[in-house]
Symmetry: C2
Subunit: 145 residues, 2 copies
Amino acid sequence: MSDLEALSLKLEARGYRVTPPRRAVIAAVLQQAGHFTVDDLLHRCRGAGRATVFRTIRLLTELGVVCRVLLDDGSLHYRLSQRPQHHHHLVCTGCGKVQDLDDCAVSDLVRELSGSSGYEIEGHWLEFYGHCAACRSEVLVGVPA
Amino acid sequence: MSDLEALSLKLEARGYRVTPPRRAVIAAVLQQAGHFTVDDLLHRCRGAGRATVFRTIRLLTELGVVCRVLLDDGSLHYRLSQRPQHHHHLVCTGCGKVQDLDDCAVSDLVRELSGSSGYEIEGHWLEFYGHCAACRSEVLVGVPA
DNA sequence: ATCTCAGTGAGACAAGGTATCAGGTAGTCC
DNA sequence: GGACTACCTGATACCTTGTCTCACTGAGAT
């Protein structure tokens, strides 16, 4: 079963129709390698209007199929989610590659903070930025010591 | 020396002029209790145009006087920075109160992640959301068991 | 056949922010 | 003082990201 079919079934299971425009958006999302914007999708999928792309992305986000990636500069991008549950990202600012961090690294921190601050902590944002191994070696080749 | 004067000197030391509109924006920022938007400032300081308020906020952000606070929903607000160096926030989603977290709690995590991922990690976002002690007790009073 | 309703595209709208541009002003050099 | 320059200004146009509205379509139920 292709990813497209799997996602279509998932939508249908939740009572959503799998229409041609939705199918086009999902196909476009599946083609994206790293993080992307709605604008990227719009250029790539001619079969759906702007509003529909936004609506479908929102839908996919709610289903956990797509997650939001917060970039260095504060802008929000989207990404095909490898894990539906809560997770964080490690974003390469060189090539845009995104790596999921499988376990939530700050759950201990949250517990500790709850005790010390008096807050009941209900959520958090955590994203890391850097250069991946490939981009680092490229830089080293480009600028020899 | 007032905060306004101190910030004026800081601007001058960097070679920026302290003009009446900039002074008005800084005064408005100093009046804000928690986090605020540029729109909040615009309503509060009549002495400066929209573009100037945006420009001044960007300037203050670069100087570390104001820091950006990422809210739960992904929107960016601003806040008078208590610490010019890198830090994180604990935001009360009830009353909007913001608490600075003094030491960067993820520096250990960054080191660990650098080793395991091959990335050279250069930055990160970390914000916590929850309800502060005051808001929690209010809820308890409002909704008795 | 018709009714209903989720889904649609076009386009208006909104928030938040940047770019442009003509004009103002402070400081400097003569 | 006068000219020059660089910085700063407000108004306004514009961009980006996203939502809302509205008339329309098409699939499924009756």
